[in-house]
C-alpha cells in the first residue's frame, strides 16, 4: 500500500505554481523526510495530502487510494501543522476533551498515559506550557487518534535541542509500537537524517529526488580525479554534480551499486545523505526518482 500517491500533481496560487507535476508513490511503513529550501512547496504538498487544499492539476490519493479530505481519509490521518497550533487559553484537559469530540477515533487512556509519562499537568493552561511541552501535547492529540499516517509539518523548527530529541524519540517510539507511517517536513536535513528511511527532496515546486534512503545512497558514488578528465567521465556516466577545485574534480555520479568499477585514475567513495541532497539542490535540472515512483513519471533526466 502506498501512503501517498500522486500523479502530475500541481497547485497554483494566483499566477505562480507552488507545486508542479509532482509524481510520487510512497510505500507504507516508512518515516519519510520531506526536505527542501523554504518555499519549495513542502507545506503545499502536505496540505494536498491531508485534504486541506485541492489540487489545481493532477491527482493525489492517500493510504491505498483514498481521496484526501473524505471521512475515510480524515479518520486515518493525523496532521500537526507548523508550530503546533493549539488553543492557548484552554487547559490541557479541555484540549483533550475538545479533540475527542471532534474525532471519531479517540483513545483517551492513551492520551492521558502519554501526558502523565511526560509530566504534563492536565489542569495547566496550554499557553503556559513550554514550547517542547506544547509540541508533545500536539503529538499526543495526534497519536490518540490512532492514525495510520502521521503528518508533521516542520515539527522541530521552534524547539530547543533537548526538546527536539525528546519529540523525535516520542515519534519513533510510536513508529515502533504502532507501525504508524510518518511524513515529516523540514528545511534542515540534519534534523531528520537519523530518523528517516525515505527521502523526498522538493526544490522550486518540483520533486527532485524520491526514494528509500538506503537505495539512494547505494545508487550514488563520489568520484575524485583529475579535473581535465572530468568531461570524459561525464560522457560515460550519469553525473549529477561536478565540483572542481584546481586540478582535482569531485563528481557525484549515479551508479548501479558499489560493484561498478571506478574509471581508471578515479577514486570512488560512498556518499552521505547530506552530500547527496546538496548536490541535487545545486543542480536543479537533475533528478533521481528510483523505485516505485519511476513508473508514475519519467525521470526528469540527468544530463548524460
Amino acid at each position: 500500500m502506498n501512503v501517498i500517491e500522486a500523479a502530475g500533481l500541481g497547485k497554483r496560487y494566483r499566477r505562480s505554481w507552488a507545486l508542479r507535476d509532482a509524481s510520487l508513490a510512497v510505500p507504507a511503513g516508512h518515516v519519510v523526510a520531506l526536505v527542501g529550501p523554504n518555499g519549495a512547496g513542502k507545506t503545499t504538498l502536505l496540505h494536498l495530502a491531508v485534504g486541506l487544499t485541492a489540487p489545481t492539476a493532477g491527482r493525489v490519493t492517500v493510504l491505498g487510494g483514498v481521496v484526501p479530505g473524505t471521512p475515510a481519509a480524515l479518520d486515518q490521518i493525523a496532521f500537526v501543522a507548523q508550530d503546533a497550533p493549539l488553543y492557548r487559553n484552554l487547559s490541557v484537559a479541555d484540549m483533550l476533551h475538545l479533540t475527542r469530540n471532534l474525532n471519531r477515533r479517540w483513545d483517551q487512556r492513551r492520551a492521558e498515559a502519554r501526558l502523565a509519562e511526560l509530566a504534563i499537568p492536565l489542569r495547566r493552561k496550554v499557553g503556559r506550557l513550554s514550547g517542547g511541552q506544547q509540541a508533545q501535547l500536539a503529538l499526543t492529540l495526534a497519536l490518540a487518534r490512532r492514525p495510520a499516517l502521521l503528518v508533521l509539518d516542520e515539527p522541530l523548527s521552534s524547539l530547543d535541542p533537548l526538546a527536539r530529541h525528546d519529540f523525535m524519540a516520542s515519534v519513533m517510539a510510536a513508529v515502533a509500537e504502532d507501525g504508524v507511517s510518518v511524513v515529516l517536513s523540514s528545511h534542515v536535513l540534519a534534523d531528520l537524517e537519523r530518523v528517516a528511511d525515505y527521502l523526498i527532496l522538493l526544490s522550486a515546486g518540483q520533486v527532485q529526488v524520491a526514494g528509500e534512503v538506503d537505495d539512494l545512497l547505494a545508487g550514488h558514488r563520489m568520484l575524485a580525479g583529475p579535473a581535465e578528465a572530468a568531461g570524459d567521465v561525464a560522457e560515460r556516466l550519469a553525473v549529477v554534480h561536478v565540483h572542481r577545485a584546481g586540478a582535482l574534480a569531485h563528481l557525484l555520479v549515479r551508479s548501479n551499486g558499489a560493484a561498478e568499477p571506478a574509471p581508471s585514475g578515479w577514486e570512488s567513495s560512498p556518499v552521505g545523505l547530506e552530500e547527496l541532497v546538496l548536490a541535487y539542490l545545486r543542480e536543479p535540472g537533475a533528478g533521481a526518482l528510483p523505485g516505485p515512483s519511476a513508473r508514475a513519471t519519467q525521470d526528469s533526466g540527468v544530463p548524460a
Binding site: 530529541h165 524519540a169 519513533m172 517510539a173 515502533a176 528511511d197
Partner: protein, 173 residues
C-alpha cells in the same frame, strides 16, 4: 560496589533478568553507520564481559525512545547480531545474547588487564614508545599462534594504542 547494591535493592532480587543489560549511545561524528555502532557496542560489551549469555538486549522501543532513531535501524542491528551468532530473538520476549566471542570472565579480564598494564610500564621504563610496544606485542602474538600451530589472526594496525592492542587483535576485522 555501592552502585551495584543500589540498583539491586531498588529493583529487588529476581527482577534483574527483566532489565536490559546494555544501554546504547551514539557518536554522531564518528561516520560509522548507526546500526553498526549498536552492533559494535554489543560486541565490545561481550568481549569485555559486561554482557553474557542470556542477557536481554533493550527492546526496539526502548532504544528508539532513548536515541531518537528509526526503529528499522535497531532491527537492522539486531538482525546483524543474529547473523553473527551473537544474539537470538525470542518471539514476544525480546532479543537475548546467545554466543559470546570466547573470552574470560570479568574477574579474569581485570587480572589480565593489570598484568598487561604492568608489562606496559616495564616496556615504557625500558624506553619503548607506543608503536614499539604494539610491534612487540604483535610479533609475540604471532609467535604464540605459530607455536599453537594456528594461522595468525588479523593483526592490530600499527596506529592502535597499546591499550587497545589486545582487543584490536580480534576487533580489526
Amino acid at each position: 560496589m555501592t552502585i551495584d547494591k543500589q540498583i539491586g535493592s531498588a529493583r529487588g532480587p529476581g527482577e534483574r533478568g527483566q532489565d536490559a543489560a546494555i544501554a546504547f549511545r551514539l557518536d554522531h561524528a564518528s561516520g560509522v553507520p548507526t546500526y553498526l555502532q549498536l552492533v559494535q557496542q554489543v560486541e565490545h560489551a561481550l568481549r569485555l564481559g559486561y554482557l553474557g549469555q542470556g542477557d536481554r538486549l533493550p527492546t526496539v522501543k526502548e532504544v528508539v525512545s532513548s536515541l531518537a532513531i528509526n526503529p528499522n535501524t535497531v532491527l537492522k542491528a539486531y538482525r546483524e547480531l543474529e547473523h553473527r551468532g551473537l544474539a537470538a530473538g525470542r518471539p514476544g520476549q525480546g532479543t537475548f545474547v546467545r554466543g559470546a566471542p570466547a573470552t574470560a570472565g570479568l574477574a579474569e579480564l581485570t587480572t589480565l588487564r593489570k598484568s598487561l598494564l604492568a608489562w606496559l610500564r616495564s616496556a615504557d621504563a625500558a624506553g619503548l614508545d607506543e608503536a614499539g610496544m604494539v610491534a612487540l606485542f604483535t610479533s609475540a602474538l604471532r609467535d604464540f599462534h605459530d607455536r599453537r600451530g594456528e594461522a595468525p589472526g588479523p593483526v592490530p594496525r600499527g596506529d592502535a594504542g597499546p591499550g587497545t592492542a589486545a582487543e584490536g587483535a580480534e576487533g580489526v576485522a
